[in-house]
Amino acid sequence: MQKLGDYKLPQFFNYPPYFTLQPVRDTREKQIQLWKELILDYCRTQKIFVIGLEEDFPLFSNPVIERSLSHEAREAFLSILVSDGRAEWLDKRHRKCLILWHRIQEWANIILNFVKENGLEDSVMTVEEIRSGIESRGTELHGIDRTILMRALKLLEQKGKLAIFKGTTADDEGVKFSI
């Protein structure tokens, strides 16, 4: 089985036609399904939050069989993820895609659990602390994409679980939890 770092690639990754967008509908649906699962799973295990369509994303080409996905195919697979609510385009020209292997709501729940487990119910933290502080080390929040974190925090703010403070720069934005 071919591997990418320590990631075990599925067998279809070695079958050349899966790198060409299939013209027949049923076949294409199956193809898209397999790619969708692969992209989500790979991003989850490798903690990848953003895929750039024009960059060298490891899944987009397989040197072993000398195949790579066309731009059209990349956009097609990611568009399906977007319509499933598992991804979002970061720009209008569809060049960068935010991958949500956890939906925003799920990230919000992870934050709530994190706060409860660390007894931070009434505390103040900066956004940077949540992303890279000692408390979050070893949790899923460590190294989380800033865009996703802010979206989850805003969702919690709407529910009255916390308040977001604007700082002078983006770096010292903070939150006050009130759970």
Partner: protein
């Protein structure tokens, strides 16, 4: 002076005929009895044999296949009914019904990938993987037998020969001769190109494209435009061993 035929002569002739008939019937009777006796002996021997080698029949696929051959020769079908002597003795009916269900299952699970046409070898491998907890080994012969039993459910399942390989068809697609020839051609590399089909089979371009388009529509082929020479390849999951990918992890 020779006697002219009279009533006595006619009666004599009739009596002789009756005697001949009686004798004939007797002989026939004896022969039938003998035959019946031989068959009964044979059947009981076969039963003894089956009883004695029950474990071998259940566990050893080669032995099982030979036993089936022997049964066919004497007109006994151990799979004809799940009730009765054979099934009770060997549990062999259940074995094949179980295989049948698993084969249907695998064919359905892999259908999105291979379009409902699967290499018999591949099918066997998947079957073995699924049954790995089971002690009893499964041979290709067993698969074929189980599939032949699936025919009673209608025309859904069929084994077709393409070149040296056997493929199991689980969709009602009619594959014509052209399609078969393409599949056969694809067996060496797993794919064909339009040009290759035209050249190797001496077809016109239209005929090749037509047949390939049908195979695409049926989900039996996939296109690949990614090769650096820019020539479109038509891949056939049913002849490539890659088709194990579905069913294993879903």
């Amino acid at each position: 002076m020779r006697r002219r035929p009279g009533i006595g002569g006619l009666q004599n002739a009739a009596a002789a005929r009756d005697q001949y008939r009686a004798l004939g019937q007797n002989v026939a009777q004896i022969r039938t009895d003998l035959m019946k006796e031989q068959l009964a002996t044979f059947k009981s021997q076969l039963e003894d044999f089956a009883r004695k080698h029950k474990n071998d029949i259940r566990k050893n696929p080669a032995f099982r296949s030979q036993f089936h051959d022997m049964c066919t020769k004497v007109g006994v079908d151990p799979l004809a009914s799940n009730k009765g002597f054979w099934a009770e003795l060997l549990g062999i009916g259940d074995f094949y019904y179980e295989l049948g269900v698993q084969i249907v299952d695998i064919c359905l699970a892999t259908r999105p990938h291979n379009g409902g046409l699967i290499n018999l070898q591949e099918l066997c491998n998947l079957l073995r993987r699924r049954r790995k907890n089971d002690r009893e080994a499964v041979s290709e012969d067993d698969c074929l037998r189980a599939i032949s039993k699936l025919k009673v459910l209608g025309n859904g399942f069929e084994v077709i020969s393409v070149g040296k390989r056997k493929l199991v068809r689980s969709v009602p697609t009619e594959l014509n001769k052209d399609h078969n020839e393409i599949l056969e051609l694809a067996q060496s590399q797993g794919f064909v190109t339009v040009d290759e089909v035209e050249r190797r089979l001496s077809w016109t371009s239209g005929r090749a494209i037509d047949a390939l388009d049908t195979l695409l529509d049926e989900g039996l082929a996939m296109i690949d435009d990614g090769h650096k020479d820019g020539i479109r390849r038509y891949w056939f999951p049913c002849v490539s061993s890659i088709s194990t990918l579905v069913g294993a992890d879903t």
